[in-house]
Symmetry: C6
Amino acid sequence: MADTWLTSLKTATPQDGFELAIKLSRMGVKYTQPSAEARDRLRPQYAEDANALIASSQVVAINFQTIAAANNYWRGA
Amino acid sequence: MADTWLTSLKTATPQDGFELAIKLSRMGVKYTQPSAEARDRLRPQYAEDANALIASSQVVAINFQTIAAANNYWRGA
Amino acid sequence: MADTWLTSLKTATPQDGFELAIKLSRMGVKYTQPSAEARDRLRPQYAEDANALIASSQVVAINFQTIAAANNYWRGA
Amino acid sequence: MADTWLTSLKTATPQDGFELAIKLSRMGVKYTQPSAEARDRLRPQYAEDANALIASSQVVAINFQTIAAANNYWRGA
Amino acid sequence: MADTWLTSLKTATPQDGFELAIKLSRMGVKYTQPSAEARDRLRPQYAEDANALIASSQVVAINFQTIAAANNYWRGA
Amino acid sequence: MADTWLTSLKTATPQDGFELAIKLSRMGVKYTQPSAEARDRLRPQYAEDANALIASSQVVAINFQTIAAANNYWRGA
């Protein structure tokens, strides 16, 4: 993957950090399945499945741990 | 998602922190499935399924780790 | 949920901390499925299923990480 | 559960710590399913199932993280 | 596995760190299933399955936690 | 288990640490299913199953977090 998509874990606010966690979670999928077409085809499979949505939220939670630590929990904010 | 919904990880009490963890867990789902109607349709699928409830509790536990650390475990409380 | 059920992560002993981890794990379920009747109905589904029991133990383990850290691993005890 | 079974997270060696992690993992199951008879009945269900064994090893890994941190990774040993 | 494939957790950028996390995740699979042919045969099984892709992204997220900590979150970058 | 198999979490290199993480992951299985014969019988069940391989890689990732922390991320190396 030649594109630059992640240059820093710093974000201005916790919400920006949460949204970066979502991006990391999607990139984790994208590196395994690089075809946008294939990922779109799978979308109904997980967007309408409670277990897949909970699992997605778990990946976001793990990535958010990393980003929150990187931002020292936005304590100074 | 244009709305501001997360401006700080600080909470007054551990219980408030736990409830914020629940909010983060739900937002993780919402970013993946933004339709409130679709999420409501899935509710019976997970609310009556022990495995889905345990998985939900796990996501909350992971988010609570982050929030507890951010609050220095409410040690001064 | 109006009741106060969590005012501190401090416990006297590691075992008390483990039992608090169990409480947090159950509360994670309760916030998603507030009906005690529904939860009781699901009990046989997970109490007799090895995978569900292992998954439950995992949620407890994650919550115990948080509580152990909050208590500085009871090192002074 | 009236019995005292966990008074310290300290262990003499990493291996003792790993074995304590196994104990915590089993106790996490036991609090949810207190009947020894029921747990024995489930044993063949997970002891002959690769996914259940991998999941068990994961719970042990999470508990071992906690115990290793509590022992400062046995660095002085 | 005689080859040397991991000499440092240090990376120049967060993105390099994320890509190292992907490598670690694949090596975790490779140690369990060393046959490249077998792994290729399984590729369609997970590349077209939303749950497997989410699970893969979760492993990457866990390895990224380790690498991000090792790099002190690239705070000086 | 009377044998001594884990006396230190220290390793010379990150790769040695990753291989120790694999060992811990296997020992987590072995404590639950001590029969080598039974484990061998299960091998085809997980070595040819993408989900089981991903789950195995996840356990390794969690154990690698512990070992990497124990080695201070091999920063001095």
